[in-house]
Symmetry: C2
Subunit: 535 residues, 2 copies
């Protein structure tokens, strides 16, 4: 706690204790005070600022009432996360950063007996560490800007969430339990999930060329759970799995828990490099390929139509299955077009198709689905039944009401426009500011992020630290590669989904400053849209 | 019957007979077809809509199986009312039986390429097999009763589900996203789940003697997921886990997937036998004990107050952790009282506490929680974050609105009365009909089922088959024992939560008939309330 930043005005109408409380809240929002940090004892206010102990005590009471602190008599008063409303614009606190990436690790004393654990989550721990380092760097810079821009999250834009329509969908979903089978619907149900919703989803997926029966769909709590069910059902120690390099961090982390071996595959501007894949197939006998063919994460690249049919041919010839993660197929931008899913080329049931609604509706929803052929789906349904029975019916029916409404298509079209503007803004800013510095980047055609390659000689982690000092966070991409890779050393993920065009321009400006600082000691090389493919 | 409203699509995936059956069901629900009304004869479908007699016959069979018609050969097929209340009593179709136990195994040809899988679910497969056998036996009996009574499910009573109030809770939950942080709340959130709901839950749990902080609670999609997170975080190959014998099937099945070793523990009328536990502790070094101290599943027994404090003392002395599954603590019956949870005796953080809302609200909800001390909870939150991020916020807020309303307590009190009547009815019927035949049973003090011990010489599986022929299903309990046990050979689980008193009396009547048939060749022995404890 720095007393320097406290501004009290004894002539103001607002009582002093209120002013003090507001000052402390502002410090929390700025991130100057962290969750779990102890506030100064009451007497310290007197010593440093001449604030009476009555005033300081009252201020602490206000903070407690408003949820900004917690404390125990005799132990002190500790900072807590401010109520959500206030945290919105200031993603600057460590806690908010953690929540952005879905992680949690409060700073509290580790006391009491401890159980050894079997958890291995080095990748998300690493992401968290990067964010912590970034924030520390930002704070350490005395001439830092007022705001800290986070371009790592991969989250969608909250201003696009159709909150009012969601409210009405929930109300209608509730009504559906009074009709039909009434309360009987609310007993334990099929692990596949609500039949009515599966019928609708089967119809929805026709836009991607799929024609599943309702009984070929399993509803999940999101694509994360879908990946988990798949890994536990069909992956085990010693199996080899083909994986794009780099790829989606959660898939890597979940699959790694199963003790498999990776066969990493390079990408080029048309997506997965199939010649390289075929060479790998001639030497190895993989069981599965995990791929995000459309708007790949983190590159934003899309597998061309020609490669899609050839990939299926390879799967048949070399007898492997494909896990197609089709999360962002709705979000393609002007230069691109919607392409049929891999599963649409698959009459044999070799493609297991994953769909998530986290980006389409909102992330806190937790809703997704797996489409697969009979025997494969049966096994996944068995797993779902064992591990969490079925996906919540009230949630499922809310999704049905929301997404089967005609307004949903209009909202998707609007979202495409908004994201397209952000993508175009980011690409233009990169061309203007980072191209001349010798950077390359993927010409992302969809999704929410792209991959940035720094000029040779500049390491991603030193660039990350330098950029953080300038007030912008980007993610060193090494954690997104299945196996350690030379290419990973100077690549970063840059996301644009949840930043406005103005923030994106400002963010790239700051990246440029960081690069110029570092680049003074490095030679420049080829630059512009492009991609250094490597495994 | 008006043929005009029948819509059949020969190009659809769904077979025609299914479509026809669904059309007729819809007509019944709409009220176009009244109870007692005769359906058209088979040939009428051909004349009016060109539907073959095979298709129409199949459709009528479906309707009969699903309880929508009754009929006698030569007299015609007559509509029955399918409202929830009635459907509950007639869970007679195989599909419904499967759904009751959360399993799924459609009858479709297994074609196409197949992936080997790593799933081991022999226990629930065995339960399903028992139910299929039961139904086949029932159908094979020419003098079978009209209805088939299922006393295996462990499900709560659907007539108690507060459907209208749930509808209103969902509508209010939707409104909560327009206030406070608005759309920002709907981004990725903490793996612990909604803070507001955790604050409420912390308060709710005080009734069981717990005083957790909101940050000591992790929200899950139910107790099943809680067990899964626990097993993946804190259990691994070679670990030994203490387990009541018999116990909750899902815990057995989920934990077994982790390759642990069991140390089975006997129960007596006051719950877990602690002397026996202590002898086990002198010889082994277990990491964990899983227990359902209140309204134990399947016995309905409750651990006495004295034993609770001694159990915690043992945990400290022998350094193991306790997983306390407290699902049914709200449902204790007149002879019993609400007891403080084990976790309330635990200042050290040795008890990990599990709560589910499936029985309190309804099973299709999928909502539960884990309460644990700091470092343990951090690890569980990490696991939750990796495997499915967080529990759905719209679902969570609906639960909050529903369960924090004053009516919730009144509904719980009413439910206690209803279940108490069912429990008393079952106990009285057992005393009257099965006591004289030499049976023993647990004097269940809570929950939804008890354990029945047959006289020596009568095997549970042959009794199960005989009872099914009489029109009642009960579950041979061998699948509920951690390791094969001599005692398991003649015990069965009998559930009462989702059967009316009249059905329970009739069910026990039928069990009595089955027993008398089998018992003619066996000697009788001690009988009445009691329990053959064995490991």
């Amino acid at each position: 706690m720095e007393f320097d930043n406290i501004r009290l005005d004894k002539t103001a109408n607002e009582p002093l204790y209120r002013q003090l409380a507001e000052n402390i809240k502002a410090a929390v929002r700025r991130g100057d005070l962290r969750e779990g940090e102890r506030l100064p004892p009451i007497r310290a206010w007197k010593e440093s600022l001449g604030v009476s102990s009555v005033t300081a005590t009252q201020a602490y009471e206000v903070l407690k009432e408003e949820g900004f602190t917690s404390g125990q008599v005799g132990r002190g008063t500790f900072v807590r996360l401010p109520p959500a409303a206030e945290a919105v614009q200031t993603v600057a606190t460590l806690t908010a950063l953690r929540e952005t990436i879905g992680n949690y690790s409060p700073e509290r004393p580790e006391t009491g007996p401890v159980l050894p654990d079997y958890l291995r989550a080095s990748r998300s721990v690493q992401v968290q560490r990067y964010l912590e380092t970034a924030l520390a760097r930002y704070r350490a810079n005395p001439s830092r800007p007022d705001d800290f821009l986070v371009m790592t999250s991969g989250s969608p834009a909250p201003e696009l969430f159709a909150v009012r329509r969601w409210k009405s969908a929930m109300a209608h979903a509730g009504e559906s339990f009074e009709t039909g089978a009434g309360a009987f619907q609310l007993q334990y149900g099929s692990p596949l999930g609500d039949h009515e919703t599966r019928v609708w989803l089967a119809e929805y997926l026709r836009r991607f060329g799929l024609h599943p029966g309702a009984d070929e769909i399993l509803l999940t709590t999101g694509s994360q759970q879908a990946l988990d069910l798949l890994s536990r059902t069909f992956m085990g120690p010693g199996d080899t799995v083909l994986m794009e390099s780099p790829t989606y961090i959660s898939a890597l982390e979940i699959f790694e828990g199963r003790g498999i071996s990776w066969l990493p595959l390079p990408l080029d501007e048309a997506g997965l490099d199939l010649d390289s894949l075929e060479r790998t197939l001639q030497r190895h006998k993989p069981r599965l390929l995990y791929t995000v063919p459309t708007s790949q994460s983190p590159t934003g690249l899309t597998l061309s139509l020609e490669r899609r049919s050839r990939l299926l041919e390879l799967a048949r010839r070399y007898d492997f299955f494909i896990l197609e993660d089709d999360t962002c197929n709705e979000f393609y931008y002007p230069a691109a077009r919607s392409l049929p899913a891999l599963a649409s080329f698959d009459p044999q049931g070799r493609v297991i198709y994953l769909k998530s609604f986290s980006k389409l509706i909102f992330p806190a929803l937790r809703f997704g689905a797996i489409v697969a052929s009979g025997p494969i789906l049966d096994k996944l349904a068995e797993a779902k039944g064992i591990f969490d029975r079925s996906t919540s019916l009230p949630l499922t029916r809310s999704v049905l009401k929301f997404a089967s409404h005609p307004a949903f298509e209009r909202e998707l079209a609007l979202a495409r426009e908004v994201y397209a503007e952000r993508q175009a803004t980011l690409l233009a800013a990169l061309a203007e500011r980072l191209g001349p510095e010798g950077c390359l980047w993927t010409r992302c055609e969809g999704g929410f992020s792209l991959l940035l390659t720094l000029p040779p000689g500049i390491r991603a982690d030193e660039f990350h630290a330098q950029a953080a000092g300038e007030g912008v966070a980007v993610l060193p991409a090494a954690v997104l590669y299945p196996v350690p890779s030379h290419a990973a050393e100077n690549t970063l993920r840059v996301s644009f989904g949840d930043n406005t065009p103005a923030s994106l321009r400002e963010g790239v400006e700051r990246l440029g400053r960081a690069l110029r600082t570092l680049g003074q000691r490095s030679p420049r090389s080829a630059s512009g849209p492009g991609f250094v493919a490597a495994v």
